[in-house]
Amino acid sequence: MIRKLHPPKNWKIPVILVLGIFAGLFVLSVYLSKAHSYLSDDPKTCVNCHIMAPQYATWNHSSHREVTNCNDCHVPHDNVFNKYFFKAKDGMRHATMFTLRLEPQVIFIKEDGAEVVHQNCVRCHSNQLMDARQAGCIANYEENRTSRKCWDCHREVPHGRVNSLSSTPFARVPLPESPVPNWLKEFTKK
């Protein structure tokens, strides 16, 4: 039985080669897209994709720059598992959309993502939001004070309202150095 599953011997070299190429390509794409850095908390990670530049720039100019990084808001902080699961899921979609050129001109946050952010606002600001003295005698106190998305009112926190790819054309964001060597550039110029 098991033997049947073994590939014929003469496949061995090509298979190793092909697997090697795949592995190499995978490493290359990981390197090129800096996907390794996706696991970090450094906001520069997100700017890897130049399309995150407006968000980076607006965050960088906001009162939250000193106190938050992207993941403080955009990744669940209720438990470690959830954190990395969400990151992986999101990261995969972003990478796929980006490489397949499916990104829209204007990115909208999805409902899932918005809920995560909202919970994070509440997490940090619960002191201002919840008064223990009142929580005791007001029904639905917490819900009433947290049921609307914070940025229904705080529309400018932290990215401002104008949010297209072109909204911060001259913003100075730490764009990565080009990893494409000059000869390849010449070559791809056709």
Binding site: N127, Q128, D131, A132, R133, C137, A139, S147
Partner: protein
């Protein structure tokens, strides 16, 4: 710094035990205030009348002085005696005592106004309604309930004392929703932050047919919330508030359709509630809470507008003024045209016009003035929904002028083919004289009421409230 942080933490971790057990229908705001000092303190600020904006604010504005044309528009109706722009909720009861519209009753069966007037003035209202029944509340003269209604608009009008949830305390709003086939209990929390205001800040009329002997407070919403839908509603039931003293037209009075007009504006369409602008959050000692100093947001741009808009205060205020100015330019014009129509109609009657000749004309005056009043009575409308308010005024102008064209033909047919002179109504006093009001009599009857009946009411009320035990924890 460290000590400040500690202080704030201490404040926040202080655990609350409500100080007072709030009775169902507790009307005294100060009693609620023992449990909720921040909300109460800010509420008390509605007593402040110092802020005056270009067209509004907490200051008491005598509208008849500012704009004496209104006296003529309301000839034959109590609003021509006295009309101010509303000030803070704190004064709601006091202003009913003071206004010349309510006359000078000397006993509980006197005075020109029904008890229904009280409905939007006090948290004593739900208490009395629940004690006596709703229809019963709406019966008789306003003087009948003078001793009962003493606390100005407050906590029990909007809150459930048990849960502090927002709640609707006035039957008229619930019935208004029903008449549109809607269920108000399905309203979301965010909608409730406007609907508590819609209990009072809406156009209304008194229906004498609902319950025999009662002037039943009714919102004319069955056909919809637009000015056109309500006009149709009133026309269908052939309702009129009064007959105009000069033109004899069967008039409608529009009262503060703030909520209805607001629903046509972009803010409402984007989910912004009344409370977002008039009761924004406020921060004090590490906590934020709802600012109960309900007032013109122009006195509080930082916490209201600027949370959503990053523009400078001056620019935002300018945005409001620009809208108000553009609307008021044409509203003033419409006023003048309707004054002319009333005067011309009177001339036509004087020259012997017949009912048949005048019927269409009177309908026109009714509709034009209804539209003017709808736009004028909502003091915030020019900002809440400028495009809709503009549209309303424009249709009013078309109707007013169409009517005056007909009038000019009727007048010509009676041999009068020229402009009817515009009366000299350049001041409130002149205008009131023009329509034949005896202001001295009105003022002195009010004075007598204040010196005789009013103190009695206050005494009775104090006795009643003193008899209620306050249960402290």
């Amino acid at each position: 710094l460290a000590s400040s942080i500690m202080e704030r933490r201490a404040e926040a971790s202080f655990v609350n035990v409500p100080k007072v057990k709030l009775a169902d229908f507790e009307p005294r705001n100060s009693v609620w205030g023992e449990n909720f000092p921040r909300e109460y303190q800010s509420y008390i600020n509605t007593a402040d009348t110092t802020f005056r904006s270009k067209h509004g604010g907490g200051a008491m504005l005598d509208m008849l002085e500012i704009d004496p044309r209104m006296v003529v528009l309301w000839a034959g109706y109590s609003f021509s005696k006295d009309y101010n722009q509303g000030r803070g909720h704190y004064y709601a009861v006091e202003d009913v005592h003071n206004t010349l519209r309510t006359g000078g009753p000397l006993n509980e069966n006197e005075g020109p106004m029904p008890s229904t007037c009280w409905t939007c003035k006090s948290p004593d209202v739900p208490r009395v309604m629940q004690e006596k029944g709703v229809a019963e509340f709406y019966k008789g003269k306003w003087a009948r309930l003078g001793a009962e209604i003493v606390n100005p608009i407050g906590c029990a009008d909007c809150h459930d004392p048990e849960t502090m949830n927002l709640r609707i305390s006035r039957p008229a709003l619930i019935e208004g929703f029903q008449s549109m086939g809607k269920d108000i209990t399905k309203a979301s929390h965010q909608e409730m932050r406007s609907l508590v205001c819609a209990q009072c800040h809406v156009e209304y009329y008194f229906n004498k047919k609902t319950v025999e002997g009662a002037e039943y407070l009714t919102f004319p919403w069955a056909n919809g919330l637009t000015v056109d839908a309500k006009e149709e509603y009133y026309d269908n039931i052939e309702f009129s508030d009064w007959t105009h003293a000069l033109s004899k037209a069967p008039m409608l009075k529009a009262q503060h359709p703030d909520y209805e007009i607001y629903t046509h504006g972009i803010h409402a369409q984007r989910g912004v509630s009344c409370a977002d602008c008039h009761m924004p959050y406020k921060s004090e000692g590490g906590q934020k809470f709802t600012d109960h100093h309900i007032q013109s947001p122009l006195n509080n741009v930082a916490n209201s507008c600027q949370v959503c808009h990053r523009e400078e205060t001056l620019e935002l205020v300018q945005n409001v003024y620009e809208r108000q100015d553009k609307i008021i330019e044409n509203r003033d014009k419409l006023e003048e045209l309707i004054v002319r129509a009333h005067v011309e109609a009177k001339k036509a009657w004087d020259l012997g016009a017949t009912e048949e000749e005048m019927n269409d004309i009177l309908q026109g005056i009714r509709h034009a003035q209804w539209r003017w009043d709808y736009a004028a009575a909502s003091h915030g409308g020019s900002f809440h929904a400028p495009i809709e308010t503009g549209r309303i005024i424009t249709t009013g102008i078309t109707i007013a002028q169409e009517t005056r064209i007909k009038l000019s033909r009727v007048l010509a047919s009676k041999g009068f083919n020229q402009e009817v002179p515009y009366p000299d109504i350049s001041t409130k006093a002149k205008a009131q004289e023009f329509i034949g009001l005896d202001m001295d009599a009105l003022n002195s009857e009010k004075q007598e009421f204040k010196e005789t009946l009013l103190p009695e009411w206050m005494k009775k009320a104090k006795e009643r409230e003193d008899s209620w035990a306050i249960v402290r924890n």
